[in-house]
């Protein structure tokens, strides 16, 4: 835990140094910017692909990402019921660049959703998946620097997100068949 606190202090030391850097961190860490960017990439991915095969893979990635987001949220809700961790600003002096969230610090919900989307896509499309990993990592880092999460919260969120996505894409087999049916139905409407 000492390493966790040390890394938190290192990240949070970036906050409050420069108004420009603070604004950048604020833009990256809020609930609207990067999360919207992540879902906009998913939205674009649905229509992307030079061949029907590539497009179908991308559409499977999008459907998997949406499903794994639901699973990810369920896991986080369950974790929050059994374990509550106070936010860093409740226990230590921090430079806070955000409002004071009242829910559990562990795991980082936003990071978890980001990594869940990125992993779901990465398992189908490495290039776009990598871009999403970069966005999700920025979101996690910004929330650490902004003073609302410990590094272990970010790491926990990453693990939950990756686990949810892996489970949906690789382990729940019937979903693949369900995606086929959905994509075929949407093709008739020229939407897939």
């Amino acid at each position: 835990m000492a390493i966790d606190l040390m890394l938190f202090k290192l990240g949070n030391s970036l906050a409050g140094r420069s108004p420009i850097l603070d604004t950048v961190i604020r833009i990256l860490m809020n609930d609207y910017a990067l999360t919207t960017a992540l879902v906009l990439v998913l939205f674009a991915l649905w229509f992307s692909g030079k061949s029907p095969t590539t497009r179908e893979q991308n559409q499977r990635a999008v459907l998997s990402a949406i499903t794994s987001m639901f699973l990810d949220n369920l896991i986080i809700k369950a974790l929050n019921l059994v374990y509550y961790r106070p936010r860093p600003f409740a226990e230590h002096p921090v430079t806070l660049l955000f409002y004071r969230p009242s829910d559990s610090s562990f795991p980082s919900n936003a990071t978890s959703v980001g990594f869940c989307i990125a992993t779901s896509v990465w398992l189908f499309n490495r290039k776009v998946g990598f871009i999403l990993y970069v966005l999700a990592s920025l979101l996690g880092l910004a929330r650490l620097c902004g003073g609302v999460h410990y590094p272990s919260d970010i790491l926990g969120g990453m693990l939950v997100g990756v686990f949810s996505a892996y489970l949906v894409v690789r382990k729940i087999r019937f979903l693949g068949q369900l995606w086929t049916v959905i994509i075929q139905r949407l093709r008739r409407l020229l939407l897939a």
Binding site: D31, Y32, L40, A44, R188, A192
Partner: protein, 353 residues
């Protein structure tokens, strides 16, 4: 339960989602040439770069503009407790769905407005003649004295018949006699439609201006399927050209929006009469019977209305029997309008008739 905290923030985010999704659709339309989703006139631009630049520009403008507007106008609310994940997901979903619906409605409307500008037409020339149950327009080059080669043009059955006028005008200018068929609803029926080409050949061979040993047939779209089928049985036809023949069932998917606006694409995909006629003509089966007569198969490199894989498989088996030409950056519907396609067709007929 959903709790939106601030009505103004929720509506602001909804509008931001809507505009940014609209921008994403424009970028996607530019990247993948999905004309049915594009607000700009993608097909009017000759090069890929020109086509993309407006789409990307509009898309980026919408995304960046809506983002700046949302963050600047809601800066304080954004850093206060507000919308949670479930509310954000719902608002984004609604915004994106609205953006898609608006795009599918507005893109065809803009396309309709653009197409209402009158285009140069050469269709008024020539003499109307009866061909079997259909009608045709016979165009003879001015000052023709010695018997000349003649070509029967069969358009696709549907709204794209008029594109043949451009081709006919060009062929007449190049010294070829042309008979453009205008099939009506009744002559679409199978097997009656099979009488169309033999009747046209008979009519042409009786004309004093026409050399009966130099008769050709050209079909576009489903008309291409018909000329392949007719030429396999009629030895009078000495050279056959099929422009973007359908040959196999059209794959129904988002790809149709690469050629058509959404309402037209839906009608195209659901046209059972057309699919039935394609199946009955079964041109792929009869294509091999045209040899040793010359047979030109012309496609646009970006044709989204024809399934290329089965056709390419067939072509690989009949390499020597078919002269395949692909026109770069041409689609299915704009193939005949391309100067390169016009030039290729005319030169090919001049060489083989």
């Amino acid at each position: 339960m959903l709790y939106f905290v601030s009505k103004e923030l929720a509506l602001g985010y909804l509008f931001f989602s809507f505009l940014s999704a609209l921008g994403v659709l424009q970028c996607v339309a530019a990247r993948y040439h999905l004309f049915g989703l594009a607000f700009w006139d993608g097909r009017a631009q000759r090069t890929c770069r020109q086509r993309c630049i407006w789409g990307y520009g509009l898309g980026i403008l919408l995304i960046a503009g809506s983002g700046i507007w949302f963050f600047v106008s809601h800066w304080v609310e954004i850093f206060a407790p507000g919308l949670a994940g479930a509310e954000l997901s719902l608002l984004f979903g609604v915004g994106a769905a609205c953006a898609l619906a608006v795009t599918l409605v507005v893109a065809p409307l803009l396309q309709h407005l653009r197409s209402s500008i009158p285009l140069q037409s050469k269709g008024s020339e020539g003499q109307m003649v009866a061909v079997s149950r259909a009608t045709g327009r016979l165009c003879i080059p001015a000052g023709a004295t010695a018997p000349m080669p003649a070509i029967c043009l069969v358009p696709g059955f549907g709204a794209n018949e008029k594109v043949m006028d451009t081709l006919a005008g060009h062929m007449v200018q190049e010294g070829l006699i042309v008979l453009v068929i205008h099939p009506d609803e009744e002559s679409h029926a199978y097997p009656e439609i099979l009488a169309l080409l033999p009747a046209a050949m008979s009519l042409l061979s009786k004309r004093p201006e026409v050399d009966p040993q130099r008769l050709g047939a050209l079909g576009y779209d489903l008309g291409g399927d018909l000329v392949i089928r007719a030429a396999s049985a009629s030895k009078r036809i000495k050279a056959v050209a099929a422009l973007a023949p359908v040959l196999v069932d059209t794959p129904v998917s988002l790809d149709l929006l690469g050629e058509l606006p959404y309402p037209q694409a839906l009608r195209w995909a659901g046209d059972r009469k057309r699919a039935k006629l394609r199946k009955e003509l079964n041109a792929l089966e009869y294509g091999a019977k045209i040899a040793p007569r010359p047979f030109l198969l012309l496609y646009g490199a970006e044709d989204r209305l024809v399934a290329r894989a089965p056709v390419e498989e067939w072509l690989a088996q009949h390499k020597d029997a078919v002269d395949l030409k692909v026109i770069p950056s041409a689609g299915h519907l704009n193939l005949v309008n391309r100067p390169m396609a016009l030039h290729t067709i005319v030169q090919w007929f001049k060489e083989h008739l």
